[in-house]
C-alpha cells in the first residue's frame, strides 16, 4: 500500500503518518516545511519497517507541484491512497485580515486539494482500489462569521468530495470527508481551545483515535466521518436550523471567545 500525505509535517498529518506506518504502509510525504519533513521521515523509519519518501512542495504553486510530480513519475511511484491534510487557518474579522493571506486560505485549502487529487488519481495503481481523504471541518457544517473564509473553504471540500464520490463510485475509488472539531496539535491550538472554555474542550477530539478511525473508515468505503457524538449532534442542528440564525448564533459566541483569546 502506497500512501501520499500532504501536510505531513504538521499535527494531524504527522498522526496519520504514524498511523499508516503502524499499519505497514509505505509513505510519500509532502510539506512546505523541509526540516519538519526530514524529522518525521526519520521518526517513521526508526519506528516502523516501511519505506518513506519525501518531497518539499508548495501546493499553492503549480510549478512546485509539477516538479514534485516529475519526481514521482521518474521513480514510477503509484498510489493506493491520498490523504489531503495540508490546510491553514487565520481566525478573525474579515476586514482586519491581510488580503493576500485570506486568498491563500482558499488557494491551499480548496484549490491545492483539487490539484493534488487530480494528480494522484492519475497515478493510482491500476486494477487496485483507491482511497481519498479530504480534511474538511466541523466548521464546514455552518456559515461561520469570524472564520468566514476558512469555513467556506472547508465547505467547498465537503461538497466537492460528495460529488466526486459519485463520479468515481464505479471506478473503485472511495472518498471520505473528515469533519473534525478542534484537535490539539500545537501549543497554539491548545490555548485557543482553552479560550473557548467548556464548549472548546467538549468539541475537541483526540488526535490519535481520529487518525485510526479515518483510515478504517475510508477503507470501509464510508463517505463522511464526524468524530464525536456532540459534533454529530451539532452538525445535525446545523442542517435543520435556518442558516442565517446559525450564523447569528456563531457570531455571538465567537465574538465572546475572541475577546478572551
Amino acid at each position: 500500500m502506497n500512501v501520499m500525505i500532504t501536510g505531513a509535517a504538521g499535527g494531524l498529518g504527522r498522526a496519520l503518518a504514524n498511523e499508516c506506518g503502524r499499519r505497514g504502509y509505505n509513505l510519500f510525504l509532502t510539506d512546505i516545511n523541509e526540516d519538519g519533513l526530514l524529522c518525521i521521515k526519520r521518526g517513521l523509519e526508526r519506528q516502523f519497517d516501511v519505506v518513506v519518501a519525501t518531497a518539499v512542495c508548495d501546493l499553492t504553486n503549480a510549478e512546485s507541484v509539477d516538479k514534485m510530480l516529475d519526481m514521482i513519475d521518474q521513480h514510477g511511484i503509484c498510489f493506493d491512497m491520498l490523504l489531503n491534510i495540508a490546510g491553514l487557518d487565520f481566525e478573525g474579522i474579515f476586514m482586519e485580515r491581510d488580503r493576500e493571506k485570506l486568498v491563500k486560505i482558499v488557494l491551499l485549502n480548496s484549490a491545492a486539494a483539487l490539484r493534488i487529487t487530480h494528480a494522484a488519481i492519475n497515478r493510482r495503481r491500476s486494477g487496485k482500489p483507491f482511497s481519498i481523504v479530504f480534511v474538511s471541518s466541523l466548521a464546514s457544517m455552518f456559515p461561520m462569521p469570524l472564520k468566514a473564509t476558512y469555513a467556506a473553504s472547508k465547505r467547498f471540500l465537503l461538497d466537492f468530495a460528495t460529488s466526486l464520490r459519485q463520479e468515481l463510485k464505479r471506478k473503485g475509488v472511495s472518498v471520505l470527508t473528515l469533519c473534525p472539531g478542534g484537535m490539539v496539535t500545537t501549543q497554539e491550538t491548545m490555548s485557543s481551545i482553552k479560550a473557548q472554555g467548556f464548549w472548546g474542550s467538549i468539541t475537541t477530539n483526540p488526535l490519535e483515535s481520529i487518525a485510526h478511525n479515518t483510515i478504517d473508515r475510508v477503507l470501509a468505503g464510508k463517505s463522511i466521518y464526524i468524530p464525536g457524538i456532540l459534533n454529530r449532534t451539532l452538525s445535525f442542528f446545523g442542517k435543520i436550523i435556518p442558516r442565517s440564525w446559525v450564523a447569528a448564533m456563531i457570531y455571538w459566541r465567537w465574538n465572546k471567545v475572541q475577546s478572551r483569546y
Partner: protein
Amino acid sequence: MKTIVITGATSGIGLETAHILAQQGFEVLGIARSEPNSMQAEEKILAGNPKAKVTFFLADLLQQREVVRVADEINQYLNDQCNGELFALINNAGCVRSWYMTTDEGYEQQFALNHLAGFLLTYKLFPALRKAQGRVIMTGSESHKGIKVNWDNIMLLRRYNPLTAYKQSKLCNILFAKGLNDRYSTAGIHAYVVDPGLVYTDIGNKETGGLVNFIWSLRKRYGVSPDVPAKTFAFLCQQEIPPKGLYYCLCKEKDYSRQVTSENANRLFELSERLCDIRYGKV
C-alpha cells in the same frame, strides 16, 4: 570543582536541586527552554550564594536536534573549562500532557521528553561522564509502579491515556538507569532514580488543559516543597563512594517495580537506541 548538568533547571525540583548543589560547591550547568526563565533562575541561585558557579544553556529538549545541539555546546564548555569531565548528569526535565501530541519526529511528547531526551543527552555527554566516572540521576516517580511497558505500542497511538503515558515514561526512567548500571557500572558509571514524592510544582499545569490541569491543581496542594527531593539528589552527588542502590527517596533506598528487570532494561535500551539512531557501545 566538580561539574553537574541539570535539565529543567529553571523551576520546581530542578531549580531547587541546582540551588543546593551550587551551594555545596558544585559547578552547575543548567538546561532551560527560555532565556527569561533561565535568567530568573540564575538570579535566584546566586542570591543566596554569590560565589556559586552557574551557567545556563538553552534548548527545547522535546526536539532531538535541540538535544544534540545543546550537548555539543556543553561538551565544548566541559572541554574548555572542566578538563572534559562531567561528574553528574541529572535528567530531570519532564512534562505532563493532556492529549496525544507529537514531537517533530512524530514521537509522543511525554515519552520523548521524560525518557528519550535523557537517553540521548546521556549518550552525547557519555565521554565526559566516563572520564569523571560520573553519575546519571533521573527524576522518577512512585507512579512507575503498577504498569508494564507497552512494547508493541510504546507511543500509545491507540487509546491514549495521559496518565498511562506518564507512568510508562517514569518506568522507562528506572529501566534506563538499570540498563546503564548493567552495562557500565564496571566502567565506574552509576545511575540512579530519585522518587521525589508528591511535590508542589507546576508540572501538571504547564501546557495541559481540562481534567489533567484541574486534578493537578487540587493534588499539588498536598505536595511537599521541592527542596525535599532536592536533598536526595544532593545526597547522591555527595557520596564519595557511589551508593549501591538504584531507586532513592528521602536519601534512602526504596523498593521498585518488579517490571524493572535486566531483560526489560535491555529491551528498552535497544529500542531507545533505534529511536535516537545511536549506539552506546561496549565498555
